[in-house]
């Protein structure tokens, strides 16, 4: 027995090393998926405060870019509102006899709510990138919700604390987003394979589809995460590989992830209903 203790004591450094490494590997395997809650992450209150302090200093440096983006978005939204207003003026449906027309309930048409949040931590150059936002469960953010910027898809909420949320960026090797080509509604999957943060791959587009460079790729709306038709990017190049039955398509992402300042978390108010329906009927949701 004493020999055993002597042995353990002699190799204590090595044993502690092996134990700590085993713990680390466990942490890596358990918590480095694109979803799933880790107890320690950048959404925790203290870490969030430090990151907020940091972004409080650095945000002044790209205020000009942020302002232009917001002004652009405002202009676009104002234009859209104007169109609706004009349509409302010229439209005489409201004055029609209700016996002839069933009015649609406008509350049910758009089940999506947007929560604006500031990006306080961001990375684009690692193999798996994450963002931290300064909104959390107190503002209605829940894990699994989609995140979009004014010009396109950003990612999915990973974990949430009261005032902060971490987001799995589209620039993550395990995040797949259901997408379609806007022109002909062919749907595929967007994934990022590391390297350049301005391009991603669109996979599972069959070879019979006609494609042209510059085609717009948008979200498909086949799941409850993103609304249909949110911009993802434009087709950059298309190539056929001899042993594959799908195209290899390079997509130029619409969002410049290095410039992100404000994003919107998408809340789908009908998510629970649709997910339970799809699950009880035995269909796995298309992520």
């Amino acid at each position: 027995m004493r020999n055993l203790f002597a042995f353990i004591y002699r190799f204590r450094a090595f044993l502690v090393f092996v134990l700590l490494e085993a713990l680390c590997i466990f942490l890596i395997v358990r918590y480095n998926t694109y979803q799933g809650a880790a107890f320690f992450n950048s959404a925790s209150t203290y870490v969030g405060r430090v990151l907020e302090f940091q972004s409080g200093i650095t945000e002044y440096f790209n205020l000009a870019t942020v302002n232009t983006t917001l002004a652009d978005e405002n202009a676009r939204l104002r234009q859209e509102v104007m169109q609706y207003k004009l349509a409302g003026i010229t439209d005489s449906v409201a004055r029609m006899d209700t016996t002839l027309l069933v009015t649609t309930d406008s509350a049910k048409v758009i089940p999506y709510k947007l929560h604006a949040g500031k990006v306080i931590n961001n990375s684009v150059r690692r193999n798996n990138n994450y963002l931290t936002l300064s909104i959390g469960s107190a503002n209605g953010v829940q894990p699994g919700m989609g995140v979009i910027a004014s010009n396109g898809v950003v990612g999915r909420v990973k974990t949430v604390s009261e005032n902060y949320a971490t987001v799995t960026s589209l620039l993550h090797s395990q995040l797949l987003i259901s997408a379609k080509i806007k022109r002909n509604n062919t749907f595929g999957t967007i994934k990022w394979q590391g390297g350049n943060y301005r391009t991603a791959i669109l996979d599972y587009i069959p070879l019979h589809v006609q494609l042209t460079k510059g085609d717009t790729v948008v979200t498909s709306g086949y799941n409850t995460v993103f609304p249909e038709g949110i911009m993802i990017g434009t087709i950059n190049s298309v190539s056929k590989e001899p042993d594959k039955s799908f195209y290899t398509i390079d997509v130029k992402l619409a969002v410049d992830f290095a410039q992100l300042a404000y994003v919107y978390v998408v809340e789908n108010t009908l998510k629970a209903e649709r997910d339970t329906l799809e699950q009880t009927s035995g269909i796995l949701p298309n992520e």
């Binding site: 700590l20 590997i25 942490l27 480095n32 880790a38 940091q54 798996n128 390297g195």
Partner: protein, 172 residues
């Protein structure tokens, strides 16, 4: 000998981790060269520090960075590996008449040759671990990452030594 792990090292710990998170997180050379400066906390510890304590310090330093980087366990694993390899590298590089008890891993005290071999070896070990764990395998692309990052971190470590570890303090 009794103040082997003193207030100085706690200050260094906070300082280097803060540098890593606040500054070097957004400082990337050509999109491939990263600087993990927080490991200089482990590099600058006294030569005769307890091996087991060193391992735990490595874990704590790596884990703190992991929390901010959202890379659960990757930096912790790499730092523990560095902490484990440090005594072995130190053994390899022992000067002809051994280390003195007051020796620390200091550029002015141990000389350029010794310090560069010591730090570059350990930095390379740490960075290899980080990049390989990040993609959980091996890819030829990470060789470029590795080369640039090791040089980047190495240069910053030397700059830190030249700036903040003066010749006077080393001879004390």
């Amino acid at each position: 000998m009794n103040s082997v792990f003193g207030i100085r090292h706690i200050v260094q710990f906070v300082l280097f981790i803060a540098l890593q998170i606040l500054l070097f997180d957004s400082l990337v050379l050509f999109g491939t060269g990263f600087c993990f400066i927080y490991i200089s906390f482990l590099l600058f510890l006294p030569i005769h520090i307890n091996k087991v304590l060193l391992l735990f310090l490595g874990f704590v330093a790596g884990f703190t960075v992991d929390i901010f980087y959202d890379t659960m366990g990757i930096h912790a694993a790499a730092s523990v590996l560095l902490a484990f390899m440090r005594p072995h590298i130190l053994n390899l590089l022992t000067p002809r008449d051994g280390y003195e008890t007051s020796d620390s891993a200091n550029l002015h005290k141990m000389g350029w040759n010794w310090f560069l071999t010591y730090s570059l070896l350990l930095i390379a070990i740490h960075h290899t671990a980080v990049f390989m764990l990040e993609i959980f395998g091996f890819d030829w692309r990470i060789l470029l990452n590795l080369l640039l990052s090791t040089m980047f971190t190495g240069v910053v470590v030397v700059i830190l030594q030249l700036l903040f570890f003066s010749v006077k303090r080393a001879s004390r």
